[in-house]
Structure formats: C-alpha cells, structure tokens
C-alpha cells in the first residue's frame, strides 16, 4: 500500500442543497411518510415502555429508541449543524440512557429525562469540538412543500419573500452557528422542536424567566445578523 498521504483535516463537504433545489424539482422522494417529530409524546405509553425495559424486556427499549430518534435527531442536529456528529451523539445518548434506565424513578417524564441527556451531552460535545468551519447540513425534505408557513412565506409580500429564501436559510444557519451553544440550544428547543418554556426550563434546570430572556436575546441576535446580510449581501 502506498504511504498514506496525510488527509486534509478540513473535510470539504458538498454545499448543501436548499430551497433553490426544491423549486427546481430536486426533491428526494421517500418510501415512508415523514414522521412528524413535533407531536407531543404520549407519556402513559412511555411509562409502560420504561417499566417493561426495567423488567428486562429488551424489545421495549427498542421501541423507545424508535420513538425518540427522529425528535432527538432534530434537537441535536440543529445544535451541531452536522449530520455525522449528530449520528454519533445520538448513539451515545441512547447508550447512556440504556445504561442508566435502571435507576430512572419516574420523577420527571421519560421525555424530559432523555432530552436532558441529549442536550447536556451535546453541550459538552460542542465545548470540546470548538468552532467548526464546515457545516454538514441535511437536505430539505419534500414535506416542506406542504408546510403552511413555507407557502405563506413564498406567497405573501414581506421582506422575507423579497430576499432569496434559500439564501436566507443559509444565512440563518450561519447565524445560528454564531450564537453561543446555550443560546442555540434554547432557540432549537423552542422554535424548531416546538417545546414550551416550562419544558425547556425543566431540561436545562433554569427558571422559565431565564429561558425567556435567552430566547429574547438570541432572537435579537439572529435578527441583527440577518439584517446585516440584507444590508451587505457580500458573502
């Protein structure tokens, strides 16, 4: 074998395809209907699955994994902006959950518990990772075409519509990365995952007031970044 030539550490990733691709029929078709990760979980079902897992039924934990993977994927992905890191973290989260589920007493819901693990592991990971220069972004799923707000944004006249929506989305991702890890976490949980303030405060173990103020601050930051882009559209 030839002497391994040193690999360039900054892995060049293909540029993410965004709305522009969608509009030119670059859609990815799916065999299965998209799981709606945003519906609130059924906590009584979770309680059952947890006790069955604790009783030794291996298949029960599998069901929890299947149920929570899409939701947790979204959470971790939007905090890390990287598919590979998300995959690794997701594996570690479930691994940790599996190891410690014996001691889970049900003081909080399983939903809160596993989201705590996910958020905390991800924040620790981000601290270690530091700044990453290349994002590995997932593509837009075809389901966005049915999204009410997407249709609104592209139909009504608003500052959003005037700018190129796909470029805007790219800037938004960049802006997200500029936020501190903690701020990105609350933005992800509230706006993207649709979690209520109360739930976020339980997960982060901070007061609801803190959650609200972090959201307010983060939102303001994002607005500023996007405005800057509008004024100086140089890449």
């Amino acid at each position: 074998m030839a002497t391994p030539k040193k690999m360039n550490p900054a892995i060049a990733l293909p540029s993410p395809r965004r709305f522009s691709d969608l509009l030119s029929s670059g859609l990815r078709s799916r065999a299965k209907p998209k799981r709606d990760a945003m519906e609130p979980p059924r906590s009584d079902e979770d309680k059952q699955l947890v006790s069955r897992t604790q009783a030794g039924e291996a298949g029960a934990f599998d069901e929890l994994v299947v149920k929570y993977t899409p939701r947790l994927y979204g959470l971790i992905y939007n905090m890390t902006s990287n598919h590979e890191d998300t995959n690794d973290l997701l594996q570690d989260v479930f691994s940790k959950a599996y190891k410690s589920i014996g001691g889970f007493r049900g003081k909080s819901s399983f939903y809160t518990w596993i989201h705590s693990i996910a958020v905390n592991m991800t924040l620790n990971f981000l601290k270690k990772r530091g700044r990453r220069f290349h994002l590995s972004l997932d593509d837009m799923d075809a389901s966005v075409q049915n999204d009410k707000e997407f249709l609104e944004l592209t139909a009504t006249s608003s500052p959003v519509r005037e700018a190129d929506l796909s470029e805007l989305q790219r800037r938004l991702n960049e802006a997200m990365m500029k936020l501190s890890d903690e701020h990105r976490a609350v933005v992800t949980m509230f706006h993207i995952q649709g979690m209520p303030h109360a739930e976020i405060s339980k997960i982060l173990r901070v007061s609801e007031g803190t959650v609200r103020s972090r959201l307010f601050y983060a939102n303001r930051q994002l607005q500023n970044y996007l405005d800057e882009f509008r004024k100086n559209p140089v890449s």
């Binding site: 994994v65 691994s95 599996y98 972004l137 997932d138 837009m140 938004l172 996007l226």
Partner: protein, 164 residues
C-alpha cells in the same frame, strides 16, 4: 429597527424542521445501536462478561433471588472450578498462563454512568437470543416492507488505543 421581526425569524426557524437526514437513516439507526452495544459488551473483561452471563442465566430461570451479586459470583466460581478441573485432567495439556486483560478499552469518550450490579437491566445482554424472543414493534415492520439494504455509516470495529 429590525426589518425581520420576531415572527419572521420564528417562521424561518420552524422551516428547519424539514431538514432531514438521508432516507433510510432512521431505519438503520436501531441496527447500528445494537451493533455498538454488542461491540461495547465484547470489550469488557472476561470476568465481567461471565458475571453478566451468570446473572442472565439466573434471571431467565425466573428466580429473582438468584440474580443478586453473591449468587452470580458463586455460580461463576463453581463453573470455573468445574472447567479448570476438566482442564487439569486433560491429557498432556500444559498449564497456560491465564490472561489478565489490560484495562478495558473505553468505547466512548463521554463520561459514562457507573455500572451498577444491583440493576440487572443495565447488564442485560443484547445478544441475538434475547432479542429474538421479543417481537420487533409492528409499526416499523409490515409484511410488505422491503428488506433493509445494508451499508453502515461506520465500520464495525475500531481501535481505541495505540497498542499491539
């Protein structure tokens, strides 16, 4: 004064829900999870695996009292005694140094919760035999589903340290 108001930001952010991993990702996830668990299990030292197997065996006998640590240790010691007796009685077999495994490789760099002997669940072996007895949840497998097309995102094993 911002051109983008809170509402617009919220809408744009919500659209990110539609950024999804490649097709088939979720289908394959559980499989990779099991594989990782098995890999981690196999990296444990021999004595720990024996202990888990003994506890497992007792558990399957449905005798809760026997799943305790002392019972499991006794079982392992008895088995080891029987086996070593057989070994020593074997014709002309040299005594071989019993391997003392070096510190088990830590599979993950993230901090792990301590392995608890009191929770049989935490040591549950994810081996094929157990999993086959539990029917896989119906909402992911129906008669008409195509087979899982295999191509993992990481190789099955890796080296955690520089040793040989």
């Amino acid at each position: 004064m911002n051109e983008f108001n809170e509402d617009d930001i919220g809408k744009l952010l919500r659209l990110k829900r539609h950024e999804q991993p490649p097709p088939g990702y979720f289908d394959n996830f559980l499989h990779e999870f099991h594989r990782r668990q098995r890999d981690e299990l196999l990296r444990q030292p021999l004595w720990r695996i024996c202990l888990q197997r003994a506890q497992d065996f007792m558990f399957r006998l449905n005798v809760p009292g026997l799943t305790s640590y002392p019972a499991a240790v006794t079982a392992v010691l008895v088995c080891a005694a029987v086996i070593s007796l057989k070994v020593y009685q074997g014709p002309g077999i040299e005594k071989v140094a019993v391997v003392q495994n070096p510190t088990p490789v830590v599979a993950s760099t993230l901090p792990e919760t301590a392995w608890s002997l009191s929770s049989p669940v935490a040591t549950r072996d994810l081996g094929p035999t157990l999993l086959r007895t539990a029917k896989y949840s119906s909402h992911t497998h129906r008669a008409a589903t195509p087979p899982r097309y295999v191509l993992d995102s990481t190789p099955v094993s890796y080296e955690a340290a520089f040793r040989f």
